[in-house]
Protein backbone atom coordinates (compact mmCIF):
# COMPACT_ATOMS: atom_id res chain seq x y z
CA UNK A 1 0.00 0.00 0.00
CA UNK A 2 1.24 3.39 -0.90
CA UNK A 3 2.15 5.54 1.97
CA UNK A 4 0.21 8.73 1.92
CA UNK A 5 2.05 11.93 1.32
CA UNK A 6 0.96 13.61 4.42
CA UNK A 7 2.64 11.11 6.59
CA UNK A 8 6.11 11.14 5.30
CA UNK A 9 6.81 14.44 3.79
CA UNK A 10 10.22 15.68 4.57
CA UNK A 11 10.02 19.38 4.93
CA UNK A 12 13.38 20.97 4.41
CA UNK A 13 14.62 22.45 7.61
CA UNK A 14 15.28 25.79 6.05
CA UNK A 15 11.61 26.37 5.40
CA UNK A 16 10.49 25.71 8.90
CA UNK A 17 9.65 28.71 10.96
CA UNK A 18 7.88 27.00 13.76
CA UNK A 19 10.07 25.52 16.36
CA UNK A 20 11.02 22.04 17.19
CA UNK A 21 9.08 20.05 19.68
CA UNK A 22 11.58 17.51 20.77
CA UNK A 23 11.13 14.40 22.86
CA UNK A 24 13.61 13.97 25.63
CA UNK A 25 16.89 12.30 25.07
CA UNK A 26 17.28 13.43 21.51
CA UNK A 27 20.77 14.45 20.70
CA UNK A 28 21.87 17.58 18.93
CA UNK A 29 18.83 19.58 19.77
CA UNK A 30 18.46 23.02 21.01
CA UNK A 31 15.34 23.85 22.91
CA UNK A 32 13.65 26.60 20.99
CA UNK A 33 10.81 28.74 22.15
CA UNK A 34 7.42 27.88 20.85
CA UNK A 35 5.95 30.18 18.28
CA UNK A 36 3.50 32.25 20.30
CA UNK A 37 0.62 31.66 17.93
CA UNK A 38 1.05 27.96 17.79
CA UNK A 39 -1.47 26.52 20.12
CA UNK A 40 -1.27 22.93 19.10
CA UNK A 41 0.05 20.42 21.50
CA UNK A 42 2.26 18.79 19.01
CA UNK A 43 4.02 20.36 16.11
CA UNK A 44 4.15 17.81 13.46
CA UNK A 45 6.98 17.31 11.12
CA UNK A 46 6.60 14.11 9.27
CA UNK A 47 9.81 12.36 8.70
CA UNK A 48 11.02 8.97 7.77
CA UNK A 49 12.77 7.07 10.49
CA UNK A 50 15.51 5.51 8.54
CA UNK A 51 16.53 8.55 6.62
CA UNK A 52 16.90 10.92 9.50
CA UNK A 53 19.25 13.76 8.83
CA UNK A 54 20.10 15.61 11.93
CA UNK A 55 20.07 19.27 11.36
CA UNK A 56 22.51 21.11 13.49
CA UNK A 57 20.44 24.22 13.64
CA UNK A 58 17.17 22.75 14.70
CA UNK A 59 16.03 19.26 15.21
CA UNK A 60 12.90 18.14 13.55
CA UNK A 61 9.98 17.46 15.81
CA UNK A 62 9.48 13.85 16.65
CA UNK A 63 5.92 12.79 16.52
CA UNK A 64 4.92 9.50 18.09
CA UNK A 65 4.81 8.10 14.57
CA UNK A 66 8.58 7.97 14.73
CA UNK A 67 8.04 4.77 16.59
CA UNK A 68 6.52 3.31 13.49
CA UNK A 69 8.85 1.48 11.22
CA UNK A 70 7.58 2.51 7.87
CA UNK A 71 9.05 0.52 5.07
CA UNK A 72 8.68 3.08 2.41
CA UNK A 73 10.68 6.19 2.38
CA UNK A 74 10.27 9.76 1.40
CA UNK A 75 7.39 10.34 -0.93
CA UNK A 76 8.29 13.80 -1.84
CA UNK A 77 8.01 17.27 -0.68
CA UNK A 78 4.60 18.69 -1.20
CA UNK A 79 5.54 22.23 -0.44
CA UNK A 80 5.55 24.58 2.46
CA UNK A 81 1.94 25.51 2.30
CA UNK A 82 0.57 22.07 2.79
CA UNK A 83 -1.54 22.28 5.93
CA UNK A 84 -0.21 20.14 8.66
CA UNK A 85 -2.84 17.93 10.10
CA UNK A 86 -3.46 18.32 13.80
CA UNK A 87 -2.54 21.97 13.60
CA UNK A 88 -4.55 24.23 15.89
CA UNK A 89 -5.89 21.27 17.76
CA UNK A 90 -5.22 20.70 21.40
CA UNK A 91 -4.78 17.14 22.50
CA UNK A 92 -5.22 17.45 26.21
CA UNK A 93 -5.27 13.75 26.80
CA UNK A 94 -2.59 12.81 24.32
CA UNK A 95 -5.56 11.83 22.20
CA UNK A 96 -3.80 12.59 18.95
CA UNK A 97 -5.50 11.86 15.71
CA UNK A 98 -3.25 9.90 13.42
CA UNK A 99 -1.09 8.86 16.34
CA UNK A 100 -0.24 5.72 14.49
CA UNK A 101 -0.01 7.50 11.20
CA UNK A 102 -2.66 7.77 8.57
CA UNK A 103 -2.15 4.23 7.44
CA UNK A 104 -5.01 1.92 7.75
CA UNK A 105 -4.07 -1.13 9.60
CA UNK A 106 -2.28 -3.48 7.29
CA UNK A 107 0.55 -5.88 7.33
CA UNK A 108 3.09 -3.10 7.14
CA UNK A 109 2.08 -1.51 10.40
CA UNK A 110 4.72 -2.09 13.01
CA UNK A 111 5.03 -0.14 16.21
CA UNK A 112 8.49 -0.62 17.65
CA UNK A 113 7.08 -1.66 20.98
CA UNK A 114 5.76 -4.84 19.42
CA UNK A 115 9.37 -6.04 19.30
CA UNK A 116 9.70 -5.75 23.05
CA UNK A 117 6.28 -7.28 23.72
CA UNK A 118 7.10 -10.15 21.37
CA UNK A 119 9.91 -11.30 23.66
CA UNK A 120 7.27 -12.77 25.99
CA UNK A 121 4.30 -13.79 23.91
CA UNK A 122 3.26 -16.28 26.57
CA UNK A 123 2.09 -13.28 28.59
CA UNK A 124 -0.64 -12.68 26.04
CA UNK A 125 -1.55 -15.99 24.47
CA UNK A 126 -4.99 -17.10 25.53
CA UNK A 127 -5.26 -14.23 28.00
CA UNK A 128 -7.85 -11.52 28.58
CA UNK A 129 -6.27 -8.13 27.98
CA UNK A 130 -7.14 -4.53 28.71
CA UNK A 131 -5.40 -1.70 26.88
CA UNK A 132 -5.74 1.63 28.66
CA UNK A 133 -5.48 4.63 26.35
CA UNK A 134 -5.62 2.64 23.14
CA UNK A 135 -6.06 5.70 20.86
CA UNK A 136 -7.13 4.51 17.41
CA UNK A 137 -6.53 0.91 18.37
CA UNK A 138 -3.82 0.07 15.85
CA UNK A 139 -1.38 -1.28 18.40
CA UNK A 140 -4.08 -3.01 20.44
CA UNK A 141 -5.35 -4.81 17.37
CA UNK A 142 -1.85 -5.95 16.43
CA UNK A 143 -1.27 -7.29 19.91
CA UNK A 144 -4.55 -9.17 19.96
CA UNK A 145 -3.96 -10.61 16.53
CA UNK A 146 -0.25 -11.42 16.59
CA UNK A 147 -0.06 -12.78 20.11
CA UNK A 148 -3.28 -14.80 20.10
CA UNK A 149 -5.06 -13.14 22.97
CA UNK A 150 -8.31 -14.68 24.17
CA UNK A 151 -9.86 -11.23 24.24
CA UNK A 152 -8.89 -7.58 24.27
CA UNK A 153 -10.76 -4.53 25.43
CA UNK A 154 -9.36 -1.14 24.49
CA UNK A 155 -10.38 1.95 26.42
CA UNK A 156 -9.87 5.55 25.35
CA UNK A 157 -11.00 8.81 26.87
CA UNK A 158 -11.60 10.25 23.39
CA UNK A 159 -14.98 9.19 22.06
CA UNK A 160 -14.00 9.62 18.42
CA UNK A 161 -10.86 7.54 18.78
CA UNK A 162 -12.66 4.72 20.58
CA UNK A 163 -15.36 4.85 17.93
CA UNK A 164 -12.96 4.70 15.02
CA UNK A 165 -11.11 1.82 16.65
CA UNK A 166 -14.41 -0.02 16.94
CA UNK A 167 -15.16 0.79 13.31
CA UNK A 168 -11.91 -0.88 12.32
CA UNK A 169 -12.96 -4.01 14.19
CA UNK A 170 -16.42 -3.91 12.65
CA UNK A 171 -14.85 -3.71 9.19
CA UNK A 172 -12.58 -6.64 9.99
CA UNK A 173 -15.60 -8.65 11.12
CA UNK A 174 -17.51 -7.85 7.95
CA UNK A 175 -14.65 -8.83 5.71
CA UNK A 176 -13.69 -11.86 7.72
CA UNK A 177 -14.10 -15.29 6.16
CA UNK A 178 -13.91 -17.20 9.40
CA UNK A 179 -17.18 -18.02 11.14
CA UNK A 180 -18.17 -15.91 14.09
CA UNK A 181 -16.41 -17.37 17.11
CA UNK A 182 -16.39 -15.12 20.16
CA UNK A 183 -12.89 -16.11 21.23
CA UNK A 184 -11.25 -15.68 17.83
CA UNK A 185 -9.86 -12.51 16.34
CA UNK A 186 -11.47 -10.10 15.40
CA UNK A 187 -14.57 -11.14 17.31
CA UNK A 188 -12.73 -11.06 20.59
CA UNK A 189 -11.76 -7.39 20.43
CA UNK A 190 -13.85 -4.42 21.41
CA UNK A 191 -13.28 -0.77 22.13
CA UNK A 192 -14.94 1.33 24.76
CA UNK A 193 -15.07 5.07 25.34
CA UNK A 194 -14.50 6.27 28.87
CA UNK A 195 -12.21 7.67 31.51
CA UNK A 196 -10.18 5.08 33.38
CA UNK A 197 -10.01 7.43 36.35
CA UNK A 198 -13.13 7.05 38.47
CA UNK A 199 -15.28 9.86 39.86
CA UNK A 200 -14.44 8.80 43.38
CA UNK A 201 -11.99 6.45 45.08
CA UNK A 202 -14.79 4.69 46.94
CA UNK A 203 -15.86 3.05 43.70
CA UNK A 204 -12.67 0.98 43.93
CA UNK A 205 -14.48 -0.97 46.64
CA UNK A 206 -16.63 -2.63 44.01
CA UNK A 207 -13.95 -3.17 41.39
CA UNK A 208 -13.39 -6.81 40.52
CA UNK A 209 -10.63 -8.92 38.95
CA UNK A 210 -11.43 -9.44 35.31
CA UNK A 211 -8.23 -9.20 33.26
CA UNK A 212 -5.07 -11.24 33.01
CA UNK A 213 -2.97 -8.47 31.50
CA UNK A 214 -3.37 -4.71 31.54
CA UNK A 215 -1.41 -2.57 29.12
CA UNK A 216 -0.74 1.04 29.98
CA UNK A 217 1.61 2.35 27.34
CA UNK A 218 2.65 6.02 27.26
CA UNK A 219 -0.47 7.01 29.14
CA UNK A 220 0.69 7.85 32.66
CA UNK A 221 1.78 11.37 31.69
CA UNK A 222 -1.68 12.18 30.43
CA UNK A 223 -3.47 10.78 33.46
CA UNK A 224 -1.01 12.66 35.64
CA UNK A 225 -1.45 16.02 33.92
CA UNK A 226 -5.22 15.82 33.73
CA UNK A 227 -6.12 14.08 36.96
CA UNK A 228 -3.16 14.86 39.24
CA UNK A 229 -1.34 12.64 41.70
CA UNK A 230 -4.60 11.42 43.21
CA UNK A 231 -6.00 10.38 39.85
CA UNK A 232 -2.87 8.53 38.82
CA UNK A 233 -2.58 6.74 42.15
CA UNK A 234 -6.21 5.73 41.90
CA UNK A 235 -5.61 4.44 38.38
CA UNK A 236 -2.70 2.31 39.61
CA UNK A 237 -4.86 0.91 42.38
CA UNK A 238 -7.65 0.22 39.93
CA UNK A 239 -5.26 -1.63 37.64
CA UNK A 240 -4.20 -3.89 40.48
CA UNK A 241 -7.81 -4.57 41.50
CA UNK A 242 -8.82 -5.39 37.94
CA UNK A 243 -6.10 -8.01 37.56
CA UNK A 244 -6.67 -11.61 38.43
CA UNK A 245 -4.21 -13.52 40.55
CA UNK A 246 -1.07 -14.04 38.55
CA UNK A 247 -2.00 -11.06 36.42
CA UNK A 248 0.46 -8.59 34.90
CA UNK A 249 0.54 -4.85 34.37
CA UNK A 250 2.66 -3.83 31.41
CA UNK A 251 3.59 -0.24 32.05
CA UNK A 252 5.44 2.23 29.86
CA UNK A 253 5.53 5.46 31.87
CA UNK A 254 6.84 8.74 30.51
CA UNK A 255 9.56 10.48 32.49
CA UNK A 256 8.87 13.74 34.26
CA UNK A 257 11.04 15.90 32.03
CA UNK A 258 8.67 15.19 29.16
CA UNK A 259 5.77 16.71 31.08
CA UNK A 260 6.96 20.28 31.00
CA UNK A 261 6.25 21.03 27.40
CA UNK A 262 2.65 20.00 27.87
CA UNK A 263 1.85 22.46 30.61
CA UNK A 264 0.65 24.98 28.09
CA UNK A 265 -2.19 22.78 26.95
CA UNK A 266 -4.62 24.33 29.38
CA UNK A 267 -4.83 26.35 32.54
CA UNK A 268 -5.82 23.38 34.64
CA UNK A 269 -3.02 21.26 33.19
CA UNK A 270 -0.57 23.95 34.14
CA UNK A 271 -1.96 24.00 37.67
CA UNK A 272 -1.86 20.25 37.87
CA UNK A 273 1.71 20.20 36.62
CA UNK A 274 2.77 22.62 39.30
CA UNK A 275 1.05 20.57 41.97
CA UNK A 276 2.72 17.27 41.13
CA UNK A 277 4.55 15.70 44.04
CA UNK A 278 4.32 12.05 43.00
CA UNK A 279 7.26 11.75 40.64
CA UNK A 280 7.55 9.11 37.92
CA UNK A 281 10.70 7.72 39.47
CA UNK A 282 8.60 6.83 42.50
CA UNK A 283 6.02 4.94 40.46
CA UNK A 284 7.69 1.57 40.88
CA UNK A 285 7.99 1.90 44.65
CA UNK A 286 4.35 2.96 44.89
CA UNK A 287 3.13 0.10 42.73
CA UNK A 288 5.07 -2.37 44.89
CA UNK A 289 3.85 -0.82 48.14
CA UNK A 290 0.91 -2.20 50.16
CA UNK A 291 -1.23 0.67 48.92
CA UNK A 292 -1.30 -0.96 45.51
CA UNK A 293 0.13 -4.40 46.16
CA UNK A 294 2.10 -5.64 43.17
CA UNK A 295 4.57 -8.30 44.22
CA UNK A 296 7.41 -7.67 41.81
CA UNK A 297 8.63 -5.64 38.87
CA UNK A 298 10.73 -6.78 35.97
CA UNK A 299 12.08 -4.79 33.09
CA UNK A 300 10.64 -6.20 29.91
CA UNK A 301 12.81 -4.19 27.61
CA UNK A 302 13.48 -0.90 25.94
CA UNK A 303 12.63 -0.40 22.28
CA UNK A 304 15.66 -0.07 20.04
CA UNK A 305 16.03 1.23 16.54
CA UNK A 306 13.95 4.28 17.16
CA UNK A 307 14.36 7.85 18.23
CA UNK A 308 15.94 8.18 21.63
CA UNK A 309 12.87 9.94 22.93
CA UNK A 310 10.85 6.80 22.50
CA UNK A 311 13.31 4.53 24.20
CA UNK A 312 11.08 4.26 27.21
CA UNK A 313 11.50 1.25 29.43
CA UNK A 314 8.59 -1.16 29.42
CA UNK A 315 8.01 -2.72 32.82
CA UNK A 316 6.04 -5.73 33.96
CA UNK A 317 4.41 -5.63 37.40
CA UNK A 318 3.17 -8.97 38.67
CA UNK A 319 0.25 -9.65 40.97
CA UNK A 320 0.62 -12.78 43.02
Amino acid sequence: MEVENNNNTIVPAVKRSATADVEDGAQNTKRLKHNATDSSGEVHVPEDNSKQEECSQRAPAQSPKKRLQLDSTNVGNTGPDKPRHNKNETFMYGNYRHYYGKRILDKDFHDIRLDVLATQTELFRGKQLLDIGCNSGHLSIEIAKKFGARSLVGLDIDRNLAHSAQMVINALKRSSVTPITPSIFPYNVKFVHGNYVLDDDVLLEIERPQYDVILCLSVTKWIHLNFCDAGLKQAFRRMFLQLRRGGKLILEPQSFDTYKRRKKLSESIRENYNAIKFQPDHFTAYLLSPEVGFASMELMGVPEHCKAGFKRPIQIFSKV
Binding site: L155, G194, N195, D199, V202, L203, E205
Partner: protein, 302 residues
Protein backbone atom coordinates in the same frame (compact mmCIF):
# COMPACT_ATOMS: atom_id res chain seq x y z
CA UNK B 1 -37.76 0.06 25.18
CA UNK B 2 -40.17 2.60 26.62
CA UNK B 3 -38.88 6.14 26.42
CA UNK B 4 -39.44 8.51 29.27
CA UNK B 5 -40.49 11.20 26.84
CA UNK B 6 -43.39 9.14 25.56
CA UNK B 7 -46.10 10.65 27.71
CA UNK B 8 -48.44 7.75 27.27
CA UNK B 9 -46.15 5.44 29.21
CA UNK B 10 -44.33 7.85 31.46
CA UNK B 11 -44.64 8.06 35.20
CA UNK B 12 -46.84 10.62 36.89
CA UNK B 13 -45.61 14.14 36.06
CA UNK B 14 -44.68 14.83 39.67
CA UNK B 15 -42.85 11.55 40.20
CA UNK B 16 -39.24 12.39 41.12
CA UNK B 17 -38.14 9.13 39.52
CA UNK B 18 -39.47 10.24 36.15
CA UNK B 19 -35.88 11.03 35.25
CA UNK B 20 -33.64 8.07 35.91
CA UNK B 21 -31.40 8.53 38.95
CA UNK B 22 -27.66 8.86 38.42
CA UNK B 23 -26.70 5.55 39.96
CA UNK B 24 -22.98 6.32 39.81
CA UNK B 25 -23.37 9.41 41.98
CA UNK B 26 -25.70 7.53 44.30
CA UNK B 27 -23.26 4.62 44.57
CA UNK B 28 -20.53 7.06 45.62
CA UNK B 29 -22.83 8.48 48.28
CA UNK B 30 -24.44 5.33 49.72
CA UNK B 31 -22.20 2.52 50.86
CA UNK B 32 -24.69 -0.35 51.16
CA UNK B 33 -26.14 0.49 47.78
CA UNK B 34 -22.67 0.67 46.25
CA UNK B 35 -22.02 -2.93 47.20
CA UNK B 36 -24.89 -4.23 45.12
CA UNK B 37 -23.73 -2.26 42.08
CA UNK B 38 -21.39 -3.33 39.34
CA UNK B 39 -18.61 -1.07 38.11
CA UNK B 40 -18.27 -0.74 34.37
CA UNK B 41 -14.97 -0.14 32.59
CA UNK B 42 -16.00 3.42 31.76
CA UNK B 43 -16.46 4.23 35.44
CA UNK B 44 -20.24 4.11 35.44
CA UNK B 45 -22.17 1.89 37.77
CA UNK B 46 -24.81 -0.59 36.65
CA UNK B 47 -27.38 -2.73 38.42
CA UNK B 48 -28.53 -6.28 38.03
CA UNK B 49 -32.22 -5.94 38.81
CA UNK B 50 -32.69 -9.70 38.73
CA UNK B 51 -31.37 -9.99 42.25
CA UNK B 52 -33.42 -9.65 45.41
CA UNK B 53 -30.67 -8.07 47.49
CA UNK B 54 -30.04 -5.49 44.77
CA UNK B 55 -33.73 -4.56 44.65
CA UNK B 56 -33.89 -4.27 48.41
CA UNK B 57 -30.82 -2.06 48.70
CA UNK B 58 -32.02 0.02 45.76
CA UNK B 59 -35.40 0.74 47.32
CA UNK B 60 -33.81 1.45 50.71
CA UNK B 61 -31.40 3.87 49.11
CA UNK B 62 -34.06 5.65 47.04
CA UNK B 63 -36.29 6.06 50.11
CA UNK B 64 -33.39 7.58 52.01
CA UNK B 65 -32.14 9.72 49.16
CA UNK B 66 -35.47 11.10 47.96
CA UNK B 67 -37.48 11.16 51.19
CA UNK B 68 -35.06 10.84 54.08
CA UNK B 69 -36.85 7.64 55.13
CA UNK B 70 -34.90 4.80 56.72
CA UNK B 71 -36.78 1.62 56.03
CA UNK B 72 -36.06 -1.98 56.94
CA UNK B 73 -37.70 -4.93 55.22
CA UNK B 74 -38.39 -8.27 56.89
CA UNK B 75 -36.25 -10.91 55.18
CA UNK B 76 -38.16 -12.67 52.44
CA UNK B 77 -40.88 -10.05 52.38
CA UNK B 78 -42.04 -8.10 49.35
CA UNK B 79 -39.61 -5.42 48.24
CA UNK B 80 -41.74 -2.53 47.01
CA UNK B 81 -40.80 -0.67 43.87
CA UNK B 82 -40.71 2.97 44.76
CA UNK B 83 -41.78 4.38 41.39
CA UNK B 84 -45.06 2.46 41.49
CA UNK B 85 -45.80 3.34 45.11
CA UNK B 86 -45.21 7.00 44.32
CA UNK B 87 -47.46 6.88 41.27
CA UNK B 88 -50.29 5.63 43.50
CA UNK B 89 -49.69 8.31 46.15
CA UNK B 90 -49.54 11.03 43.50
CA UNK B 91 -52.81 9.84 41.94
CA UNK B 92 -54.46 10.04 45.36
CA UNK B 93 -53.09 13.55 45.80
CA UNK B 94 -54.76 14.49 42.54
CA UNK B 95 -58.08 12.92 43.61
CA UNK B 96 -57.98 14.76 46.94
CA UNK B 97 -56.85 18.13 45.60
CA UNK B 98 -60.34 19.49 44.80
CA UNK B 99 -61.37 18.87 48.41
CA UNK B 100 -58.81 21.43 49.62
CA UNK B 101 -58.32 19.61 52.87
CA UNK B 102 -56.18 20.86 55.71
CA UNK B 103 -55.47 17.57 57.40
CA UNK B 104 -55.81 14.40 55.38
CA UNK B 105 -56.48 11.04 56.99
CA UNK B 106 -56.06 7.78 55.14
CA UNK B 107 -56.18 4.02 55.63
CA UNK B 108 -53.42 1.72 54.35
CA UNK B 109 -54.98 -1.72 53.93
CA UNK B 110 -52.31 -4.38 54.51
CA UNK B 111 -49.28 -2.18 55.06
CA UNK B 112 -46.75 -5.02 55.07
CA UNK B 113 -43.40 -4.94 56.88
CA UNK B 114 -42.26 -1.82 55.05
CA UNK B 115 -45.38 0.24 55.78
CA UNK B 116 -44.24 2.13 52.75
CA UNK B 117 -47.47 3.83 51.68
CA UNK B 118 -48.06 5.20 55.17
CA UNK B 119 -44.47 6.34 55.51
CA UNK B 120 -44.56 8.11 52.16
CA UNK B 121 -47.96 9.69 52.81
CA UNK B 122 -46.90 10.91 56.24
CA UNK B 123 -43.42 12.10 55.33
CA UNK B 124 -44.24 13.66 52.00
CA UNK B 125 -47.72 15.03 52.67
CA UNK B 126 -48.19 15.01 56.46
CA UNK B 127 -51.11 12.63 55.98
CA UNK B 128 -52.37 10.90 59.09
CA UNK B 129 -52.35 7.22 58.34
CA UNK B 130 -54.01 4.19 59.82
CA UNK B 131 -51.98 1.16 58.73
CA UNK B 132 -53.91 -2.11 58.96
CA UNK B 133 -51.90 -5.34 59.08
CA UNK B 134 -52.69 -8.88 60.20
CA UNK B 135 -49.33 -10.67 60.16
CA UNK B 136 -47.43 -10.34 63.43
CA UNK B 137 -43.87 -10.06 62.05
CA UNK B 138 -45.03 -7.43 59.60
CA UNK B 139 -46.71 -5.49 62.40
CA UNK B 140 -43.47 -5.44 64.38
CA UNK B 141 -41.36 -4.36 61.43
CA UNK B 142 -43.92 -1.72 60.47
CA UNK B 143 -43.97 -0.26 63.97
CA UNK B 144 -40.16 -0.18 64.03
CA UNK B 145 -40.11 1.57 60.67
CA UNK B 146 -42.57 4.17 61.93
CA UNK B 147 -40.56 4.75 65.11
CA UNK B 148 -37.23 4.86 63.29
CA UNK B 149 -38.56 7.71 61.18
CA UNK B 150 -40.22 9.43 64.11
CA UNK B 151 -43.64 9.39 62.51
CA UNK B 152 -45.56 7.90 65.43
CA UNK B 153 -47.68 11.02 65.68
CA UNK B 154 -48.91 10.53 62.13
CA UNK B 155 -49.01 6.76 61.67
CA UNK B 156 -50.89 4.22 63.74
CA UNK B 157 -50.21 0.56 62.95
CA UNK B 158 -53.32 -1.40 63.89
CA UNK B 159 -52.95 -5.11 64.54
CA UNK B 160 -55.79 -6.62 62.53
CA UNK B 161 -57.10 -9.63 64.44
CA UNK B 162 -58.49 -11.46 61.42
CA UNK B 163 -57.78 -11.60 57.72
CA UNK B 164 -61.38 -11.94 56.66
CA UNK B 165 -62.45 -8.41 57.35
CA UNK B 166 -61.04 -5.23 55.93
CA UNK B 167 -62.32 -2.32 58.02
CA UNK B 168 -64.82 -3.89 60.36
CA UNK B 169 -62.36 -4.98 63.03
CA UNK B 170 -61.12 -1.45 63.31
CA UNK B 171 -64.36 0.46 62.88
CA UNK B 172 -66.23 -1.82 65.30
CA UNK B 173 -63.54 -1.56 67.96
CA UNK B 174 -64.29 0.70 70.91
CA UNK B 175 -61.87 3.49 70.28
CA UNK B 176 -62.81 3.80 66.62
CA UNK B 177 -66.27 5.12 67.38
CA UNK B 178 -64.94 8.43 68.56
CA UNK B 179 -62.39 8.80 65.83
CA UNK B 180 -62.74 11.08 62.90
CA UNK B 181 -63.52 9.88 59.45
CA UNK B 182 -61.07 9.13 56.69
CA UNK B 183 -60.59 10.80 53.37
CA UNK B 184 -59.26 7.79 51.50
CA UNK B 185 -58.19 4.23 51.76
CA UNK B 186 -55.53 2.61 49.60
CA UNK B 187 -54.61 -0.99 49.04
CA UNK B 188 -51.97 -3.02 47.26
CA UNK B 189 -53.70 -6.40 47.32
CA UNK B 190 -52.15 -9.81 46.75
CA UNK B 191 -52.44 -9.94 42.97
CA UNK B 192 -52.58 -13.68 42.46
CA UNK B 193 -55.05 -16.43 43.25
CA UNK B 194 -53.75 -19.11 45.61
CA UNK B 195 -56.52 -21.41 44.42
CA UNK B 196 -55.43 -21.25 40.82
CA UNK B 197 -53.44 -24.08 39.26
CA UNK B 198 -50.53 -21.80 38.35
CA UNK B 199 -50.92 -18.58 40.36
CA UNK B 200 -47.95 -16.83 38.72
CA UNK B 201 -48.63 -18.23 35.28
CA UNK B 202 -49.77 -14.99 33.74
CA UNK B 203 -52.26 -14.36 31.02
CA UNK B 204 -50.16 -13.77 27.97
CA UNK B 205 -51.27 -15.33 24.72
CA UNK B 206 -47.82 -14.99 23.18
CA UNK B 207 -44.89 -15.60 25.57
CA UNK B 208 -42.34 -15.09 22.77
CA UNK B 209 -43.36 -11.51 22.26
CA UNK B 210 -43.77 -10.77 25.92
CA UNK B 211 -40.41 -11.14 27.60
CA UNK B 212 -39.98 -11.60 31.33
CA UNK B 213 -39.69 -8.40 33.34
CA UNK B 214 -36.20 -7.22 34.17
CA UNK B 215 -36.50 -7.97 37.87
CA UNK B 216 -37.03 -10.83 40.25
CA UNK B 217 -40.15 -11.71 42.19
CA UNK B 218 -39.97 -10.92 45.88
CA UNK B 219 -42.37 -11.52 48.72
CA UNK B 220 -43.93 -14.42 50.58
CA UNK B 221 -46.84 -16.46 49.24
CA UNK B 222 -49.02 -14.70 51.79
CA UNK B 223 -48.19 -11.29 50.39
CA UNK B 224 -48.52 -12.30 46.76
CA UNK B 225 -51.51 -14.62 46.78
CA UNK B 226 -54.81 -15.09 48.56
CA UNK B 227 -57.92 -17.14 47.98
CA UNK B 228 -59.56 -15.73 44.88
CA UNK B 229 -56.69 -13.34 44.24
CA UNK B 230 -57.06 -9.60 43.91
CA UNK B 231 -60.54 -9.79 42.43
CA UNK B 232 -62.06 -11.33 45.54
CA UNK B 233 -59.95 -9.16 47.79
CA UNK B 234 -61.09 -5.93 46.15
CA UNK B 235 -64.68 -7.21 46.03
CA UNK B 236 -64.50 -7.51 49.80
CA UNK B 237 -63.33 -3.90 50.03
CA UNK B 238 -66.27 -2.89 47.85
CA UNK B 239 -68.70 -4.88 50.05
CA UNK B 240 -67.36 -3.36 53.25
CA UNK B 241 -67.36 0.12 51.76
CA UNK B 242 -71.14 -0.15 51.58
CA UNK B 243 -71.23 -0.73 55.36
CA UNK B 244 -69.07 2.31 56.04
CA UNK B 245 -70.16 4.77 53.37
CA UNK B 246 -69.60 7.86 55.48
CA UNK B 247 -66.43 6.70 57.23
CA UNK B 248 -64.23 6.89 54.14
CA UNK B 249 -64.61 9.50 51.42
CA UNK B 250 -62.67 7.80 48.59
CA UNK B 251 -62.11 4.05 48.47
CA UNK B 252 -59.34 2.81 46.20
CA UNK B 253 -57.27 -0.22 45.37
CA UNK B 254 -54.52 -1.17 42.98
CA UNK B 255 -54.92 -4.05 40.58
CA UNK B 256 -52.02 -5.98 39.11
CA UNK B 257 -53.75 -7.69 36.20
CA UNK B 258 -55.34 -5.74 33.37
CA UNK B 259 -58.09 -8.29 32.82
CA UNK B 260 -59.31 -7.77 36.38
CA UNK B 261 -60.08 -4.09 35.94
CA UNK B 262 -63.32 -4.61 33.99
CA UNK B 263 -64.31 -7.30 36.49
CA UNK B 264 -64.13 -4.81 39.34
CA UNK B 265 -65.82 -2.10 37.31
CA UNK B 266 -68.65 -4.53 36.56
CA UNK B 267 -68.89 -5.44 40.22
CA UNK B 268 -69.23 -1.77 41.17
CA UNK B 269 -71.85 -1.26 38.49
CA UNK B 270 -73.89 -4.25 39.76
CA UNK B 271 -73.96 -2.64 43.18
CA UNK B 272 -75.15 0.59 41.64
CA UNK B 273 -71.98 2.38 42.64
CA UNK B 274 -71.65 4.90 39.89
CA UNK B 275 -69.17 7.39 41.26
CA UNK B 276 -66.06 5.55 40.05
CA UNK B 277 -62.84 6.19 38.21
CA UNK B 278 -59.80 4.22 37.20
CA UNK B 279 -56.24 4.92 36.18
CA UNK B 280 -53.02 3.33 35.00
CA UNK B 281 -49.60 3.50 36.62
CA UNK B 282 -46.63 3.31 34.28
CA UNK B 283 -43.12 2.67 35.46
CA UNK B 284 -40.51 1.24 33.15
CA UNK B 285 -41.96 -1.77 31.37
CA UNK B 286 -44.58 -2.41 34.04
CA UNK B 287 -48.12 -1.16 34.10
CA UNK B 288 -50.54 -1.47 37.01
CA UNK B 289 -54.07 -0.23 37.41
CA UNK B 290 -56.15 1.31 40.16
CA UNK B 291 -59.84 1.84 40.78
CA UNK B 292 -61.45 4.41 43.05
CA UNK B 293 -65.07 4.87 44.08
CA UNK B 294 -67.07 6.94 46.50
CA UNK B 295 -70.48 6.76 48.15
CA UNK B 296 -70.51 10.49 48.71
CA UNK B 297 -71.30 13.23 46.26
CA UNK B 298 -67.78 14.28 45.31
CA UNK B 299 -66.26 14.48 41.86
CA UNK B 300 -63.93 11.60 41.15
CA UNK B 301 -63.11 11.86 37.49
CA UNK B 302 -59.62 13.30 36.84
Amino acid sequence: MVKNSNKKFAMHPRNPLRTAPNYTKLAIKHKDFRHVCELELNGKVSLNFRNERTLRELTKMLLLEYFGLQVDFAPGSLVPTLALRLNYILWLEDLLAPQKLDAVRGIDIGCGSSCIYSLLGAKKNMWQMLALESKQTNIEYARQNVARNELQSLIEVYAQPDKQSIFSSYFESESAATKANFHFCLCNPPFFDSNAANPFGGNTRNPQRRPAPNNVRTGSAEELTCAGGEVQFVQRIVDESEMYKERVLIFSSMLGVKANVPKIMDYLRERKISNVCSTEFHQGHTTRWAVAWSHQPICLSD
